[in-house]
Symmetry: C2
Subunit: 261 residues, 2 copies
């Protein structure tokens, strides 16, 4: 199996934006990018060596062997049913939450999942070497292609099941999406009081360094951890005009109190 | 004002554990440590050059000029009323949430707050140079002492009011305590499914680096940000046997959806 295999992307969102150039640089050739919005597809092909915008899901005459569906989770199944593939094509999706079975009605038996566990935003460059990639497939040949693909860009490649991947994705939502949102809330509170988010940065960096070095359950501090109900009440009083923040403060603090007290 | 001033600590918790040696190393002399639990006090004096365990709150014959109350928030007021101080003593507390007024019944007019904004755990060393210290006091002389104290250990010293400090503390709870707890939850979910917390570490590091470099509101990703209700439902189904996690997942996701959709 040569690493000169060609790839087509279906979808041009944040993940494709980072993954397609990484594969291009790793010796694969990204040939085509399809997107419902051709301008989006073109923005991505502009970052690639040889890729062209593809206007339809008819890939019957494509030179590609690997087809990567990187679209919103609810669109995967219908694209898998609609896409017309060349013979012997490998078809994979990149979703954390959708099972491999989303591809079962596709016109190929070589189906798989290629899930890079990372947070992707257009503005921020990613070093794929450190991004764990989780793969799953239905047969050895597809496994081989996915391993080749994953190892070409990442130092951490693992095979896991659809069920395990779902658990991983839920855990990642807490660890990444919710963590980032806690920072957004914190910035809001500061701005409403004309204080600087900048001032919290040393605290945030230390919090994460400590959590990763001594494990989160040993790193927990704060009024809820100490069971200091008087301070929790003061903070709720402070937040009382914002119902949503009050609710978040309550349920998260209660969960911390229940765990440590 | 010489930097040879002596300091007494009332309290020997995580903050005193880190702050007392930092001041000792910055040219002050920590002379005494009082704690309700004398063994705790002794553990701290063992880390200091000249400090001794103090058994009572009668400091009338103390050589110290600066008295730092670093105890749980609900104990500050009663200690301030009970403590017997030498003349001209400076009395400060280190709480984020308690106002300066907690000290108003103390037997000195030189009262202040010395609030280092950081998360302190016994196991993890702290570089105080990068810890912002927020000070407040009732008169210029006390301001001078607090500035000297704060600048001896930190590069970031600011004067803020009790109200501002409370907002800062609430923001810090979200940014540090809640963020760390999201990581603890994430680790729990992985362990229940025999998966490794280690695998999430590159994601967590990237999440925080990105959030601090492009601001949290630009760094948000995930199903709630995209308004992908189908995935939110799947995740809730996955979490359904854990009521508390279901509730946390719901309220945080709803807050993200409301903000970005």
């Amino acid at each position: 199996m040569s690493s000169q295999q060609s790839i087509s992307f279906i979808g041009s969102g944040n993940l494709a934006w980072h993954l397609a150039p990484a594969l291009d640089n790793a010796g694969f050739v990204v040939k085509e990018v399809y997107s419902r919005n051709p301008q989006h597809a073109e923005r991505l092909t502009d970052r690639l060596y040889q890729a062209e915008v593809k206007a339809t899901l008819d890939f019957s005459t494509s030179e590609s062997t690997i087809f990567i569906i990187s679209v919103s989770d609810d669109a995967i199944k219908s694209i898998a049913q609609e896409i017309i593939l060349p013979e012997e094509a490998f078809l994979v999706h990149t979703s954390g939450s959708q099972p491999l079975a989303e591809l079962k009605f596709a016109a190929t038996n070589n189906i798989g999942v290629f899930y890079p566990l990372q947070t992707f935003s257009a503005q921020k460059k990613i070093d794929f070497k450190k991004v764990p990639v989780f793969i799953e497939s239905t047969n050895q040949e597809t496994d081989g292609v996915l391993l080749l693909l994953a190892k070409s860009i990442s130092n951490q490649v693992r095979k896991i099941s659809s069920e395990e991947r779902k658990a991983l994705h839920v855990a990642a939502v807490f660890a990444s999406n919710f963590t980032n949102h806690m920072l957004a809330i914190s910035k809001d509170i500061l701005q409403r009081n004309s204080l600087e988010f900048e001032w919290l940065k040393p605290l945030i960096i230390e919090t994460i360094e400590k959590s990763l070095s001594i494990e989160p359950e040993n790193a927990q501090t704060g009024p809820a951890k100490r069971g200091d109900l008087e301070i929790l009440d003061k903070h709720l009083e402070f937040l009382k005009e914002d119902e949503a923040l009050t609710e978040i403060y309550k349920v998260v603090s209660q969960h911390i109190v229940d765990r440590y007290q």
